[in-house]
Amino acid sequence: MADAASASRDQAIDALRAMAAAMPGATVGRRARRGLAGGTRASRRGARRGLGGALRTNMTPMIDVVFQLLVFFIATTRYASDERVISMELARRTAQAPATAQAGDVPPVPAPQDPFVLDDESLRLEVAADGTVTAGAPLRRAFRAEELRASLAAEIRLPGRAGGMFEPAFPIVIAPAENAPWEAAVETLDAAVAAGFRNVGFERRPGSAGAGRR
């Protein structure tokens, strides 16, 4: 029994020596190390500490990777901080319409808030694909995209200011062409609201409750 135990211990020591020879920088316990000549100062210090010191996990690569991931996610996260919204009330001045209305049906009769203002009396701004805006009935003229803002501001009648044709509550209906880019439509809406009009909206789809009004 004792012979077998010491034989297996010798085998273990031989295996450790082999490992130590294979890894010159590493330290494999005090006993195995002592048999080997030389070694750096650091490895001798490690040898004095024993196995516990030699097998400590090296944290550096993990921390490197963790920080890499951290920087990656911080850099790639997109914040919506530069986004703004134009708020529009939904179909405020239109009557409740069945959602299942067919396209060929007669549009529902709107219920205007003010009995003296008909709902179809409104300024219609048609937006073309190139951004040109054509004003309808009372105004009847075309604007280039750049002059739209100033022109609309000149048309509004505000207290304490001469000129201007329309009350701020006058309904403005924006009717973009099918192929008009979204930016042109939004820009027209923005210009009308910036001019001071309070009742701006996109044209209603035929036979439905329609889109928004501001």
Partner: protein
Amino acid sequence: MRASRIHRRGPSTFEANMTPLIDMAFLLIVFFVLVSQVASAEFVELALPRTSSGAATRPDDTQRIVVNVVPARDGGAAAYRLGKREFAPDEAGLRDLVATLARAMRDQPSVEVNVRADRATAYSWVRPAMDAVADGLAESGIDRSRARVRLVVLGERADG
């Protein structure tokens, strides 16, 4: 002859405790992974329309649903996207979108619907999204004056 018992083992090595650092780093990673997932569900990559001031305001912290008009080539729309769900830009897809919006509005009556569309997308592809919001509101049967649609734009004109 040694100077003191403390230095018997040779010069001491300074070791900082890395555990709290690694804890914090992992927490931050988890945070950013989650945030970027939420953000990618709401924000489809598109060029928002630019406006020159006026009506646009900073969004407040109200509950919101974001409907994205996923841009396709030549000013078309590939799909309408609500959260992680995509709706085809045809009649069936829009009916689905209306039903989904109506359900969301019934669950949260004070919800606001943000419509995000690319600046080059043709109006004929954006209008169904806004119509879907109006139809969803009509279908949900909640108080009409509370739910609003909001058009998402960029803050300032980039080209001046």
